[in-house]
Amino acid sequence: MSKMKSVSIMDAAIIVPAIGAAFKKLDPRSLARNPVMFVVAVVSALTTVLFLKDIAVGNSNLGFSFQIIIWLWFTVLFANFAEAVAEGRGKAQADSLRRTRTETQAKLLTGEDRAKFVMVPGAGLKVGDLVLVEAGDIIPSDGEVVEGVASVNEAAITGESAPVIRESGGDRSAVTGGTQVLSDWIKVRITAAAGSTFLDRMIALVEGAERQKTPNEIALNILLAGMTLIFVLATATIPSFATYAGGSVPVVVLVALFVTLIPTTIGALLSAIGIAGMDRLVRFNVLAMSGRAVEAAGDVDTLLLDKTGTITLGNRQASEFRPIKGVTEKELADAAQLASLADETPEGRSIVVLAKEKYAIRERDMRTLHASFVPFTAQTRMSGVDVEGSSIRKGAVDAILDHVAKGPAAALASSASGVATMQASSASIVEIRAIAEEIAKSGGTPLAVVRDGRPLGVIHLKDIVKGGIKERFTELRRMGIRTVMITGDNPMTAAAIAAEAGVDDFLAQATPENKLQLIREEQAKGKLVAMCGDGTNDAPALAQADVGVAMNTGTVAAREAGNMVDLDSDPTKLIEIVEIGKQLLMTRGALTTFSIANDIAKYFAIIPAMFLAFYPQLKVLNVMNLSTPQSAILSAIIFNALIIIALIPLALRGVKYHAVGAASLLRRNLIIYGLGGIIVPFIGIKAIDMVVSALGLA
């Protein structure tokens, strides 16, 4: 599956514009969105003004102040840069999307019978308009196919070049503006006005233009703002303490202490983390309609997964021939193979394959056998062949037994042997039913085979559980997520497959109503529910779920109801979506912890330096043995600025998620980001101090 072209983190095409953007973002209106960095900018401006005053009055020793001020501004610029880089990656993707959104002409159907069309610009279409799209045309806007069937190239949005079929009715009726019809024609009812199409929204999303702060981000901002206020109090009271002690502390040093103490690291990277989280989803070909949905994905407690296509391979496969008494397995296999020769369904093919593998029954040619295929119909609910005067049928057990009771048996009833056949067949009916029930219990689907009104046995069609899916569920369980399998099967079959796949629970004979009911029940218990769906009847459940992932192949209704759209239409992806959500939250937590833990070292760098002039005994607190007070302060502020740049890759990439359970995950991250956050700055500040004093900067 081809993913959308991803852009590497440190691409010159992104870095260069980001540097420019970092300066542009010095606009106070843009800074004000981020309280921590706004405060840094304000105190930087303040010290700059004081510095200019010092120059004017001709004070000496300005070199040190100048360097501090430079690094203060760097701190702000680095934060802007981090955000610009994150946005830059989205912009690059948005640009490539935008190129596909060329100006199109649409064939608007007019008149009473909508038989004629006029050419109008695609941008002028209104919701409800009916347009004709023929081979080679670009679909002008999002809509729903109301007539016709066509193959469509959706590479523009999915990156997948293989064409997909779009047809009226059913679950594949949605078309997206900007995609191209390759063959045939369709009539489309427009469902989105220009500017609010799927493609428009997608561009806005990856660009980050629509980015709103998510609930968790808002809460984190409050925490950071609160801590900033606390440190305002801690530093603003120092001059008065110093006065009591008979000394004084220059404003630039106080500002340096303040800026290093407030959580600038996480403050600078917070929005980059959010943008990168959305971006990561986009590169997974999933579009989240809001950041809130991504966050909710990390919190999901219950996953509702459709059985078919997610847990099992879409197609059942024949796994066994179960003849009744008096019929050999080979006889049954032979009949089954004949009945399936012309059956192009995957189930039919698998019967032919099994017959060949197990009994070496070669594939035969229908024409040389002079056989005629009897296709499956909704009325007969069976298919088969008529060959050399005999008829072979296979189908649902009930349908076949119905056929046995009415059909050829009735014709034979007049003959003398008819009574015996009747008796034999009533015994075999019981046997067939018994086998069928046994198969159903084991999770399979029974398919009965009959030749000339005489039941031969049952084919065991098995749902094949996807390889590796059981391990995925074990992993989910370790993450604390409960999986519920949704299936239309009867409870017996569902239970067997559920056990084989290792899901925690299942909903059998699912209807849209009881799906919705299940979601509501889970939510009433305080759980967050994620599900994916594609059909119109999934829409209520998708809307009710906290995370509803609609398949891109699905209906317009489903896509509107969900809060994410999976462009690849791969339901298994729900698991990755949850991981991305978790990763986003973890990255925030890790950098916040790191940022706060950093403060210890910064205190030990700056406090002795600050008070040394009047309490020389405090040099004992200079545990890092930094060369001079000036160098100590400068090193702390340089470290504080550089750590932002150093952590940009981590913020964009995200902290790696391991499905190991919360306790060990926490221990691991606390050691790396908590303990690491305490130790790293001691080493970093000392190293910078050595460079600073070697260069004679302070």
Binding site: P215, T243, A245, G526, M586, V655
Partner: protein
């Protein structure tokens, strides 16, 4: 440090830990309105009180109603206490003929007792009549403690209830705290103190003739009853000026032990009440363990610093630890332990003069208070204080498990963080800002007894003690001036109500939330890892803010003394 000293400290810790479960179990039953062995005495009286107050034990309140009731009750208590002091000269039970208390001092004292601080800018035996001591101060000792306990229970209900609009009834919680918990325990303790030789009389002061023939007036009074609640309610306001260093207020080692145990008893047991009410006692033990770690570290440092003594005195050829300002009958270990206990628990009673401690020995009490009295803490106040830290800790680190942070199934979101930060902000605001103003105000600096960093510590200690609602004093500072009376009063109110109101808001917000069932993906909050995390957050988020002030006070003093410098 001696083995004997450590054994005494361990015995104390052991008794406190042993009391946690039985007392916690009893208190849980009380707060949940279940029958206890005392119900047959108190239940009829309790029902009568509710009928008089026009409320009922089944009437639950929204958090705003709860807060309004609490504020109204405290305001009334303040006014009554203020009036009693101002008019004591004309009121009965005044055998010593005390005159009216001045307006600033009366304001300071009324605030002090209503906020459970018991900062005393007066000498009890030379200022207050028996009526003020009993009907004013002792009453507030009970109800300010009961208010704190009620508040803690309200916050616990925030965690234990789900999708609820209410967090309990303030009047019911207040009544039950007083009637079923404080009152019976105080009666038993008072009898024990009287038995041990603590005075309990309404008679006049006693005149004695000394061997030299001089006349000495010995102050007595209803001491034992006030002593009981002073400790149990972590009030700390002494009957006598010398507080529990006075032989009548702390006659022997056994009484001293009982006093220390009763300071911690209710606060420690409340962690168990918390655990029981949220349905997992381990949660309570985890909180208590975090408190325990911080407490033990404090005891080690203080005991070590006091036992090591003062190098300047050693230089004079006098060996041994620092005995200045300590009672010989308690010695260094019990004085050091008492100092840590009383400041950890927002009590403020003292059995030694903290001003006379070594620089580092005196720094631990300051730190204990700066952390917001969360190490056991004031009755109730300690629990809601540490739960606010828990919210911050969970919010910061809880994200690292990849979920919206939750504690006990409650999602910690914007509103809780906002309220928790408001409460956190109050301490540096009250402690640092007022210290900063005072140390540059000549009239305020004139009140200090020592120059240099020690004088700084005296002022810092005063505002820290007031904001933390502790009430212990560093001595040295002459606090009975209009400036200190008024500003300390304001700081005490900030320290109390700027934490209580956000805590109640958190309770209301949490109670309204659904409880998310725990899963393998949930951050475990009853493990050693959580204890370590909580301790780290308390020290880094709560403590680091004060490092500059500590560096200029006790740390500078300690290093100066080590270098042989005096001020």
């Amino acid at each position: 440090m001696t083995i004997n000293g450590w054994i005494q400290i361990l015995i104390f810790c052991g008794i406190v830990v042993l009391l946690v479960k039985p007392l916690g179990g009893y208190m849980t039953r009380v707060y949940q309105g279940e029958r206890t062995f005392l119900s047959f005495i108190f239940a009829p009286f309790e029902r009568l009180l509710y009928r008089l107050a026009g409320t009922s034990e089944n009437e639950d309140q929204h958090w705003t109603t709860y807060a309004a009731g609490m504020l109204a009750f405290n305001l009334l208590g303040f006014l009554v206490l203020y009036a009693l002091q101002r008019f004591q000269a004309g009121l009965p039970f005044n055998p010593a003929g005390m005159g009216a208390v001045g307006p600033e001092l009366a304001f300071n004292t009324a605030t002090s007792f209503v906020t459970n601080t018991n900062w005393q800018n007066y000498g009890g035996e030379s200022t207050m009549s028996y009526l003020v001591q009993m009907a004013g101060l002792t009453v507030q000792n009970f109800v300010s403690a009961a208010t704190g306990m009620a508040l803690a229970i309200a916050l616990v209900r925030g965690f234990s209830r789900a999708s609820a609009k209410s967090i309990g009834n303030f009047w019911v919680d207040l009544t039950r705290s007083t009637l079923y918990i404080l009152l019976p325990l105080c009666i038993v303790l008072t009898l024990f103190y009287v038995y041990s030789g603590v005075p309990q009389t309404l008679g006049a002061y006693i005149d004695a003739t000394t061997l030299e023939g001089a006349k000495q007036t010995i102050a007595v009074g209803p001491v034992a009853s006030q002593l009981a609640i002073k400790m149990l309610g972590t009030n700390g306001g002494g009957f006598f000026n010398a507080n529990s260093a006075h032989p009548f207020e702390n006659p022997d080692a056994l009484v001293n032990l009982v006093q220390m145990v009763t300071i911690f008893a209710i606060g420690a047991a409340l962690t168990n009440v918390f655990g029981r009410m949220v349905g997992n006692q381990r949660q309570g033990w985890a909180i208590l363990a975090s408190m325990g770690v911080l407490f033990i570290v404090g005891v080690i440092v203080t005991y070590w610093a006091e036992a090591a003594g003062n190098p300047l005195i050693h230089a004079l050829g006098i060996e041994g630890g620092n005995m200045e300002g300590k009672e010989v009958r308690f010695g260094i270990p019990l004085s050091a332990l008492f100092a840590v206990v009383t400041t950890a628990a927002s009590c403020g009673a003292v059995n030694a003069m903290h001003d006379s401690f070594t620089a580092l020995g005196g720094m631990i009490p300051i730190i204990n208070m700066e952390l917001g009295e969360v190490i056991i803490g004031g009755v109730g106040a300690g629990l809601y204080g540490i739960l606010i830290f828990v919210i911050i800790a969970i919010f910061v680190a809880g994200l690292m498990v990849g979920r919206t942070p939750e504690y006990l199934g409650k999602k910690i979101e914007g509103k809780e963080v906002k309220m928790a930060m408001l409460a956190m902000l109050c301490l540096p605001l009250a402690m640092l800002v007022f210290t900063a103003i005072s140390v540059v105000m000549p009239s305020a600096v004139a009140s200090i007894a020592n120059q240099g960093p020690h004088g700084f510590s005296e002022i810092l200690y005063a505002y820290t003690s007031a904001a933390a609602n502790n009430g212990s004093a560093f001595g040295g500072l002459t606090g009975n001036t209009p400036w200190y009376n008024i500003t300390l009063g304001i700081v005490m109110m900030m320290g109390r109500f700027m934490v209580i109101i956000p805590a109640l808001a958190i309770a209301g917000s949490l109670a309204a939330k659904k409880t998310v069932p725990a899963s393998a993906g949930t951050f475990p909050t009853d493990s050693g890892l959580f204890v370590g995390l909580l301790v780290g957050v308390i020290l880094i988020v709560g403590g680091l803010t004060f490092l500059p002030a500590l560096a200029l006070g006790p740390i500078a003093e300690h290093l100066a003394i080590a270098a042989g410098q005096t001020f």
